[in-house]
């Protein structure tokens, strides 16, 4: 899973790099325009939201597993099972 994800991200990076180079060659972007790009406040807020969204989506199963454990811990029968 992680291996194929890493390979996907590598392909994506290369393709993005190609786009940047072609845009610079076509004089649509100045060289370094992306590296020196600074989002304004509204854009920054949107990007913060995007990042949060991705994070919550990717790690949602962990949160769900914790809630399932919580439900189990709240059941009295289980509570006796884990007595040590």
């Amino acid at each position: 899973m992680i291996v194929s994800l890493a390979s996907e991200v590598t392909v994506l990076r290369a393709r993005l790099d190609t786009c940047e180079r072609l845009l610079v060659a076509a004089k649509v972007l100045a060289p370094g325009a992306i590296d020196t790009f600074s989002p304004d406040e509204a854009a920054q807020a949107e990007r913060d939201g995007m990042r949060q969204h991705t994070l919550n989506k990717v790690f949602r199963p962990l949160q769900e597993a914790a809630l399932a454990d919580l439900a189990a811990a709240s059941r009295p029968t289980v509570a006796t099972e884990i007595q040590v």
């Binding site: 992306i34 590296d35 020196t36 790009f37 600074s38 989002p39 920054q44 990007r47 913060d48 990042r51 949060q52 994070l55 919550n56 790690f59 962990l62 949160q63 597993a65 914790a66 809630l67 399932a68 454990d69 919580l70 189990a72 811990a73 709240s74 509570a79 884990i82 007595q83 040590v84």
Partner: protein, 383 residues
């Protein structure tokens, strides 16, 4: 360099490593991941613990925190949460190291300050104490004493701290602890005009520069164990316009003569040492004070003030998963007793309200913690 959300000129001090577009996004991601771990996953574990605490209480165990931990371990989400906690911290340093290494030359050039006001004195034969070399504190690769002749370990430490502060007000100086120590000093001695001040365990000088800011007339010293950190601390202080004398020494036993300081303080150092070292550091702070001088030792809130079993367990896990060598020792100590044993008078033990500027902050010191980051544990005494 211009454009990216933090250009060097816009920063509080120019020594800090500045991320590129991608590096900044990565650092923001790690910060958010750490927040997710702490604010989404951890509260679920806290609720699970709340279900289990009555069983722990009923069992009458004499180490209830260990008992709680043992029971929590039967839940897979508990161990997953802990792994992610550790991994996100490791990821933080990996991201920061890339960013620092890329601009190594630029940082070295910035560190070569012309006509400095302060100094840095390194000791090639210095042997760092075991508790420093045994594990990498905060999981920072190489640890505090790491040295390759450059300023880079210091730069990594500074940038790592800054990641926590991204997007917050107050800049990246990370100097609240130093200012809070100075606020305590001015609370107990409002008219003090110290001639010489020492910061023990100064790191990259975040806690030291506030002494120079609050007492511009004083001669300010800072000591720590790592040469790279100290080189960086020196450059950073110079860029901030503060005259500080840094030297590589152990706070357990320094080379300064008896009674050579008016004020000696430390900020969040004791929990990174050992119980024996903490005793030695208090004693050394007493030895260095002239009669009537004041020692201040600031720490994170003590464990018993946290009040419940889960808080105790979670702070113990923080210690273990973030490599804090003396967390329990330093945060369960009886400081009144330790300070008396070190020979101090006028001993105070309590909480000082967090100060942004030690000079102008409200002089608020009391018995109770106002919560993590709103106040700091402080013990002080007079020689």
């Amino acid at each position: 360099m211009s454009g990216i959300a933090e250009s060097r000129a816009a920063l509080a001090h120019p020594m800090i490593a500045v991320p590129t577009h991608d590096e900044l996004v990565e650092q923001l991601f790690v910060r958010d991941l750490k927040l997710f771990v702490g604010q989404t996953l951890e509260p679920a574990q806290q609720k699970i613990a709340a279900q289990i605490v009555p069983e722990v209480a009923a069992s009458g165990s004499n180490s209830p925190v260990d008992d709680l931990r043992h029971r929590m371990q039967s839940f897979e989400s508990f161990t997953t949460w802990l792994s992610l906690k550790r991994e996100s911290q490791r990821q933080l340093w990996a991201a920061v190291e890339d960013c620092v290494e890329r601009q190594a030359d630029q940082l070295e050039a910035l560190a070569a300050v012309d006509a400095p006001k302060g100094t840095v004195t390194l000791d090639a034969d210095f042997a760092a104490p075991d508790y420093i070399t045994r594990g990498d504190i905060h999981l920072m690769p190489g640890g505090n004493a790491h040295d390759d002749g450059s300023v880079l370990q210091g730069a990594v430490m500074d940038r790592g701290g800054a990641v926590y502060m991204l997007g917050r007000n107050g800049g990246m100086l990370n100097d609240l602890r130093g200012h809070t120590a100075m606020a305590h000093l001015l609370t107990v001695a409002p008219d003090i005009r110290p001639a010489r001040i020492l910061d023990m365990g100064c790191g990259i000088g975040t806690s030291t520069v506030p002494a120079a800011v609050c007492f511009p007339e004083a001669e300010v010293h800072g000591i720590d164990v790592g040469a790279s950190m100290l080189r960086y601390a020196h450059a950073r202080a110079e860029h901030l316009g503060a005259a500080v004398h840094f030297s590589q020494q152990s706070a357990e036993r320094t080379s300064f003569p008896d009674a050579s300081f008016d004020v000696v303080y430390s900020c969040v150092v004791l929990h990174e040492t050992s119980p024996e070292a903490a005793v030695n550091i208090l004693a050394e702070s007493r030895r260095l004070l002239r009669p009537g001088g004041i020692a201040i030792h600031l720490e994170v809130p003590l464990l018993h003030t946290l009040g419940d079993l889960w808080q105790e367990l979670s702070s113990e896990l923080e210690a273990q998963f973030n490599n804090e060598p003396n967390w329990r020792g330093a945060l369960t100590a009886d400081y009144g007793q330790l300070m008396r044993a070190a020979g101090f008078a006028d001993i105070r033990v309590g909480y000082q309200a967090t100060a942004f500027n030690g000079r102008t902050a409200p002089r608020k010191f009391g018995e109770a913690s106002e919560g993590v980051f709103r106040s700091w544990f402080v013990t002080s005494g007079r020689a």
